[in-house]
Amino acid sequence: MSKISRGANFNSGNSRSVQTLSLPDLPYDYGALEPAISGEIMRLHHQKHHQAYVTNYNKALEQLDSAISKADASAVVKLQSTIKFNGGGHINHSIFWKNLAPVNEGGGDPPKGSLSNAIEKQFGSLEVLVQKINSEGAALQGSGWVWLALDKEFKRLLVETTANQDPIVTKGSALVPLLGVDVWEHAYYLQYKNVKPDYLKNIWKVMNWNYATQVYEKECI
């Protein structure tokens, strides 16, 4: 394979091209989670914030590809933080849209089956689990996420937070995210302003426990 110098048009020519990502569609209308989360927030969150993570991740991938082919280790290392920020942002938000659902599509319905049993066994009740998630979310300083995760090695549920757009795997390679709650201010500010606890209280009305259950059952077979 001949070496092709990469210009602005890196997809032309017959060399390997970078597999870029695109913004996943929301599985429901922007207004479908109201009144828990406003349509205005959903539109901005999806079309502006998530889109920006996708766009910037793709840009970083192009630069990474170029740095790799030039054997520029310094440039490769320098790109790691923007890849983590933007790639993490894409990963986390892709999960988030799926772990929310309109009320008439099961949003807010409590978990059933094996996940429900695991929650009772480990936390005592769903209420206790929700309280724990909310208090960790409220206490998080700066930007980040609070997660209900499964440690697939030990088959245990846990509540964990991550800073900025760090995916849950940064807290443990065996961790699988079941539910994520975005506590970046952009996730709630236009509607709830500084009252983060109200956002945390209301998001459970549109929480998609079906999604969490599917992921849990798949890992626990």
Partner: protein
């Protein structure tokens, strides 16, 4: 205090907690004075709720501890703990950061500084335009919550632009802070939503108090000369 003089001076001093409380300082202008560049609504929430909460929560955290009665700067340095942050660092530093932020702005602000400050900016950045670009870039690329700063580094007698995450500020990094812009989303979301770069342009063009920056520089150089 048992002495009658203590009691007669002030009824408030009968509760020793009151004297040691950190207070919420008002911005040096009315809450609508920065319109249309920063809305009254933003100031009402940003100062009236966020800044006020940092003050109230800090006071709750320090009462009955060794930090109670110390100055805000001392609490910040103590709780920064060389990067191994104590729980009250966030509140303490954010109280200070927001005081500094309100005082970094003024109605009819923005534009270009003059005098020694402008000369030093030209010397250390090449031109005012290059400083502005570096400052806005730092502010735009601080990922997550944080701040961008123009600082004076006494050891090198140099002006620098830095960015910090969450509540970290130049006091704990051994720089003299001269100017800051808040890039936590709550600082700009009501007025600009996701458009942080627009917020930063408006800040530079219409809000920066170069008088405040200049007098901070004079103070910093005077303090540096004494040490």
């Amino acid at each position: 205090m048992a002495s009658t003089q203590g009691f007669s001076l002030s009824a408030r001093s009968s509760n020793e907690n009151v004297a040691a409380k950190i207070e919420l300082k008002a911005p040096p202008y009315p809450l609508d004075a920065l319109e249309p560049h920063m809305s009254r609504k933003t100031l009402e929430f940003h100062w009236g709720k966020h800044h006020r909460s940092y003050v109230d929560n800090l006071n709750k955290q320090i009462v009955g501890t060794e930090l109670h009665g110390k100055t805000l700067e001392a609490i910040i340095v103590n709780t920064y703990n060389k990067g191994d942050l104590h729980p009250s660092f966030n509140n303490a530093a954010q109280v200070w950061n927001h005081d500094f932020f309100w005082e970094s702005m003024k109605p009819g602000g923005g534009g270009v500084p003059n005098g020694e400050l402008l000369e030093l900016i030209k010397r250390d950045f090449g031109s005012f335009e290059e400083f502005e670009k570096e400052f806005k870039t730092a502010a735009a690329t601080q990922f997550g919550s944080g701040w961008a700063w123009l600082v004076y580094k006494a050891q090198d007698n140099k002006l620098l632009v830095i960015k910090t995450p969450n509540a970290v500020n130049p006091l704990v990094l051994d720089y003299y802070p001269l100017l800051t812009v808040d890039v936590w989303e709550h600082a700009y979301y009501l007025d600009f939503q996701n458009r942080r770069p627009d917020y930063l342009s408006v800040f530079m063009e219409n809000l920066v108090s170069w008088e405040a920056v200049s007098s901070r520089l004079q103070l910093a150089k005077a303090q540096a000369a004494q040490t």
